[in-house]
Point group: C3
Chain length 472, copies 3
Amino acid sequence: MSPHSKSLVTIDDLSHGEIDALFSLAQVMSDSLDEQFGLCRGKIMASLFFEPSTRTRLSFETAMHRLGGSVITASDIGATSLAKGESISDMARVIGSYVDIIVIRHPWEGAAKVVADYAGVPVINAGDGGHQHPTQTLCDLYTIKKEKGTIQGLKIALWGDLKYGRTIHSLIFALAKFGANILFCPSPGLEVPEHIIKKLTAEYGGKMAKYATLNQSVKNAFSFLDAVYLTPSSPHQLAMMSDLNIQFELESGVDALYVTRPQKERFTAGEESREQGDPFPVVDKKLLRDKAFRKTLVMHPLPRVDELAYEMDADPRSKYFEQAAHGVPVRMALIAMLLGVKEVPPSPDDITPALDYPRYEHDSGARCANPRCVSVQKTELKYLKPDFIIVNREPLTLRCVYCEHGVEPKYVASAEWHEGKTATKIYHHADSRWARKIRPENLIVFSSEDEAGAKGFKPSHDVLEHPSKSHH
Amino acid sequence: MSPHSKSLVTIDDLSHGEIDALFSLAQVMSDSLDEQFGLCRGKIMASLFFEPSTRTRLSFETAMHRLGGSVITASDIGATSLAKGESISDMARVIGSYVDIIVIRHPWEGAAKVVADYAGVPVINAGDGGHQHPTQTLCDLYTIKKEKGTIQGLKIALWGDLKYGRTIHSLIFALAKFGANILFCPSPGLEVPEHIIKKLTAEYGGKMAKYATLNQSVKNAFSFLDAVYLTPSSPHQLAMMSDLNIQFELESGVDALYVTRPQKERFTAGEESREQGDPFPVVDKKLLRDKAFRKTLVMHPLPRVDELAYEMDADPRSKYFEQAAHGVPVRMALIAMLLGVKEVPPSPDDITPALDYPRYEHDSGARCANPRCVSVQKTELKYLKPDFIIVNREPLTLRCVYCEHGVEPKYVASAEWHEGKTATKIYHHADSRWARKIRPENLIVFSSEDEAGAKGFKPSHDVLEHPSKSHH
Amino acid sequence: MSPHSKSLVTIDDLSHGEIDALFSLAQVMSDSLDEQFGLCRGKIMASLFFEPSTRTRLSFETAMHRLGGSVITASDIGATSLAKGESISDMARVIGSYVDIIVIRHPWEGAAKVVADYAGVPVINAGDGGHQHPTQTLCDLYTIKKEKGTIQGLKIALWGDLKYGRTIHSLIFALAKFGANILFCPSPGLEVPEHIIKKLTAEYGGKMAKYATLNQSVKNAFSFLDAVYLTPSSPHQLAMMSDLNIQFELESGVDALYVTRPQKERFTAGEESREQGDPFPVVDKKLLRDKAFRKTLVMHPLPRVDELAYEMDADPRSKYFEQAAHGVPVRMALIAMLLGVKEVPPSPDDITPALDYPRYEHDSGARCANPRCVSVQKTELKYLKPDFIIVNREPLTLRCVYCEHGVEPKYVASAEWHEGKTATKIYHHADSRWARKIRPENLIVFSSEDEAGAKGFKPSHDVLEHPSKSHH
C-alpha cells in the first residue's frame, strides 16, 4: 500500500497486486489463527457505526481481538454527537487522536473519505450509504478466488437488488478490475444505476450487452438476465467480440451466482408497492437445477430474507456462510497491513495502474446532485468545498470525489481569459469543439446560462444560435 | 459435561455432579481471582443481547475479562438484524464462525436452543423470554450452598411473581433436582404456571400440597403460603408423607426466602390493574420478625423495585448483593468448562440420570401453542419444524423441545396401518386404552377430528359413540 | 489522594498538589505511551453511561486500554435498569462487586456521589447533569498549564453558555483554586448561575466586578464582557484591588478564550426562542484580530456547533483538538492513581486546605429544591435522606451534599431545648442575632412558620413582631 494512502475508502484504493497480497496474508492468518494473537498488542481500533450493522461490526471487532488488539465501540453514535450537530471532520480528528485505526459506517455517501482525510490514522470504510462497502467486496473476492483459484475470466451473475446494494457496487468494480465478466440479473426496477455503468464502461474498457440481443436458447437458461458486462482479457480485444461470443460464454454456465436481498429500508414508496405486487423469484434448488449451474457457487452477503431458500444451506454449491466466516481473516489481514505490523511487498506485476484524473480546479458550477452525499449536508457545508475530478470529456463528466456520483455540466468556459490570452469571457456548449480544446486546468463549468452570465461570461455564437442543442 | 452438549440452554443440561464440580471450580476461582487471568487468552466471547439487561450482560463480560479473554458485544441487536428480517439460525451460524463461545439473551422462548443447534460453538442461555435463565439459577444455588453447606432437604420459599419470572422457573427445577422442598408464596394472580407444576410432579416425583390442608398455627407463621412442593429424599418415600409431616417441616422455619419483583413488562392488562389495586406485602424486618425466620437467607435476583425494603440491606440475613457478586466466579467457571480450558471430572455419584423421552416422530397434529415460542415465529418457520418429545402417556402429553410448553392432543392413531399390520386407518381418544397400546415411534396425534379426517383417518367405535368424552 | 476518598466526584476532591502530581504523571505517560501498556493488566473498568456521550466515553475507554486493562460498557443503560425502576445505589453495589473501577455519567445531579458512596471501588464522575464534569476540567487545566507553564495569575475568558455547561462549572472552581482570574462572557440569558457565584466568592475569597464599572477603552476590546472574577494572589490582597487594577489586567489581553456551545438540550422554552432571535457572535479570526488576543489560546470542550468558526482550525492559537487529545493521558494518569498502580506522592506545598464545613445534623426543614438532584428522585427517596452542610451563617446557607445547590432557610431553632437548657421551644428569623448564636450541631431549620409550628416550636418575640422581615 502506498505510504500516502493508508486507508481503505473505496475498493479502488487497493491495486490488483495489493489485493492479491492481502489474500495471501489472510490465508496464512486463517491457517494459523492462534499465532496471530499479539500482533496488534497495544493497538486500539475505534469501531464507529452511525448505522446499525451487528454482523459487519462484530466481524471487524473479532478480527482486531484475534490480532490481540483492543477495541472501542460506538454503535449508538447516531443518537449522540450527530444530535448535537457535530461535523464528521471534528469527530474524525478527535477519535483519530485517541486510537490507532478507525472503522466507520455512516449513512452519508462519501463520509468515510472525510474521516480518512481528517483522522490522521488509517481508516476503513465499513459502508457509507449506497456508495461502497469495500471489505465486503474483499470477502466476496476472497471466497471466489479460494474456490475457483482465479477471478479473471470467470462469469459472475449478480442477482436481486442491484440498485441500492452498496455491496454490489463495490463488487462490480472489483470484478471488472480482476477481469471477470458480469451478468446483471436485477429485480424489476432495481437495476444497476447509470453512474455505475458509465464508470464501468468508461474506465474499465468493458462492453455492455443487453439481454434483447441474445438468442432464445440463452434466454431460456438465464431467464432473468438483464445485461452482460464483459471485460477485455487484453487491451482492445473486446471491441471485436460479437454477440455470438457472449452467447457462447453464457452457455457454459456461470461460475458464481451472487444473491442480494432487497434493501427495503432504502426503497422509495413506488418501489415498495412494486415489490409487494410482483415478487422476484427465490433462488432455490429448482432454479439451479439446470446443468449449466452444476459448478456454480451460490453466494450472498447476508442477511437474507426470502430471496434465498433455506434448502440451499445443505447444498455443496452454497458458500455464503464461508463467505461470512472469511470476513475475519480478510479483515485481520487488512488491519495488520494498514497498521503496518505486516509488511506487504508490492506485487511486481501489478496490472492496475492508478487512475489519475485531472482535478476540477474551480469553485463554481459544480455541485454534487446526490442528496445523500456528505458534501451537501448541513453540518459539513461549513468546511467542505465541492470537489470534483474530470473523468470524461465526451460527454464532459465531472465526478464528485466524495460519493462518486457524476455531473454533466451543460456549459463551459476557459479560465485563461483573465491572463490576457483570450480577448473575451465567452462560454460554450460543453460538447462543442471549442469546449474540447480547453485544457483541464483551465476548465470552468456552468450548470446553466444564468450561472455563466452571473459570473460575467457571454454566450458564444454557437450558444446564441443553438441555445438548447449543440452541433459538433 | 458430555461432549455432544457443550452448551447450557436449560438447567437440565447440567447434571447434579456437573453442577457440584462447577461450584468447586467457582470457589477456587473466587479465592484466586488474579491467577485466572490468561486462562482464556486469545478466546473470544460474543455477548448477544436481543433484550436489554445491563446486569447480566456485564456479569458475563466481566467473567470473560477476568479469564483474560476478549468480548464482542451486541446489546443493540434487536434494532439491527431482526429489523432486516434475519433468522436466528443465520445469525447463530455467522457469529458462531467468528467467535469461540456465545452468550445469548432473546425474548423468544427456545431461542437459545436454536442458537446452540446452529452456532457450532458452545452457547450459554442468558435468558430466553419467560422460559429459562439457567446461569441466574446457578448463582442462586451457589449462594445457598455456600451459606448452608448443602441444598438437599432445605426449605426454600419463593416469593412474589412466580408466573413470569424465568429466574423462578429455572430455579424450581434445580431445587427439585437437588432435593430441596419448595414453598410457593405467589402474589395473587402470579402463581406458578401449570406446565411447570406438571413437569415438576411428573419428572421429579415430588408432592404438591395446597395451603388449605395445613392447620392454623402454620398458616399464621406462613400467612402468604400458597402451596408446598416436597421432593423425595429417597425414591417412593414421598407417597407416605402425610400433611402432618409437611406441617412439622414448616414449623421449623424456612432456610431461604427468595423474593422476586413483579415482571410488569410481561403483564397482561388485567394483571396490571390487579397489581395496582392490591399490592403484595413488602419483605421487610417486620415480616421476618418471627423466630422461624431467624436463620432465613433473604435472596433476590435483582433488580428490586418495592417488594424488598432497603432496611434489609444491613441485615445479616440478606444475601442478595453476595448473590449478584457470585455471578462473576460462577460464570467464569462455566465459561472455562464450556471452552474446555478447565477439565471438570464427572462426579462418580452423579445422581441425576439424563432424562430420555421418546421423540414424537411425525410432522402432524403437534404445533406449539405458546405464541412466544421461537418455533412459531415468522422468520423461524422457514427452517424450523415442530419438534416434540412424549413426556407422558396419561394424559398423553407432548412437550415442545424449544420452549418446553406442553400440548395434550385429543386424538391419536398408529402409524403402523400403512405397513399392512392394521386393516384400517383409525383414530382413537388420546386417553383410551387403544391409545395407550400404540408404541411411541408409531404415535400420530391430532388436535381435532377434522384434522384426523383430513389425513384420511376414520373414527374408532369409541370416538363415534362418545365423540367429546372417552371411557376407559 | 487520601485513602478515604479514592473517587473523583467533583474537582474539589483533588487538592492543588494532587492535580499537579496527576499532570506530571499524564505528561510522562503521554511521552512514553507504549510503556504504559500492561500497567492495569487484569483490571476491569465499568463504563456506565446513562446519557449518551461518545467522545467522553471513548476517551475513558481508550485510556484504560492504553494501560492494558479491560472495559465493560453500558451506553444503553438508560433504557434498561432505569426502566425497571432500579435505584442508583443498587446498581452501584452490583457493578462495584464485578469491577475494579467505575466511570459514570448520569443525568441526575449528585448521582456520581451516590455511586461513589455505594460501589466500594473507585468511581470517576464523567458528568452528572448540570453539576460537574471534573475530568473535562482536568483536560482543560492540563492544556492551559502545558501551553502557558502555569495557571496562577492567568486571565481566562469563558464564552457562551455559562449557565448549563457543567464543564464550565467545574472549570470555574478549578481556575479559582489555581489562582486564575476569570472573565465571564455569557450569551444573553446564559449567565453563570447564582449558586456558583456564591460558592466562588464565599469560598475562594475572590472579587466579582461587573462590566458596568469598566471604562470605554476596555469595553471596546472586550465587548462581550459581562463580569470579571479576580482571585487573590495572597490572602486579603484582593479587597484592596481597585477597578483601575482590573482594567490594567484586562488591557494586556486574555491568556485563553474558552468557548462553549449552547446546551440546547437543556434549554427552557423561553431560552430556545431567545436563542433563535438573537444569535451570539461566532468566535472567528475577525473577533480575535485585536493585538490583545495575539497570544490567546482558543479552547473548546467540543462538540462545537456554530459558535466557533472552522477557519480557526488552522490558526496556531487554536488548541481545542489538542485539548481533546490530552483527554487520554490525563485519564490514564487518573485511572492509574485511583487504582493505586501508580504512587502519587502528596505535594509538600499543597496550598489547598480541605474545606471542612459543619454538617447539618437534623432531618427536618432542609430539602433540596433542585428538581434534577439525585436526592429528590422517586427511586432514590427510598434510601437517601436529605444531607446538607452549613456553608454560611450570614445569610444562613445550607448546601446539598449531592448536587451542591444551596438552600437559605427562613427560620431556625436550637436543638438544645430538649436537654432542659432552654425553657421553651422557640424559633427565630434565620438572620436574627439569636440565630447566629446557635451552634452548628444544634441548628434546626424550617422553611416556613407552619413547618416550625408543626414540629411544636413557637415564634420568638422577634418573629411575632416582624413576621416577614427581621431586624438585626
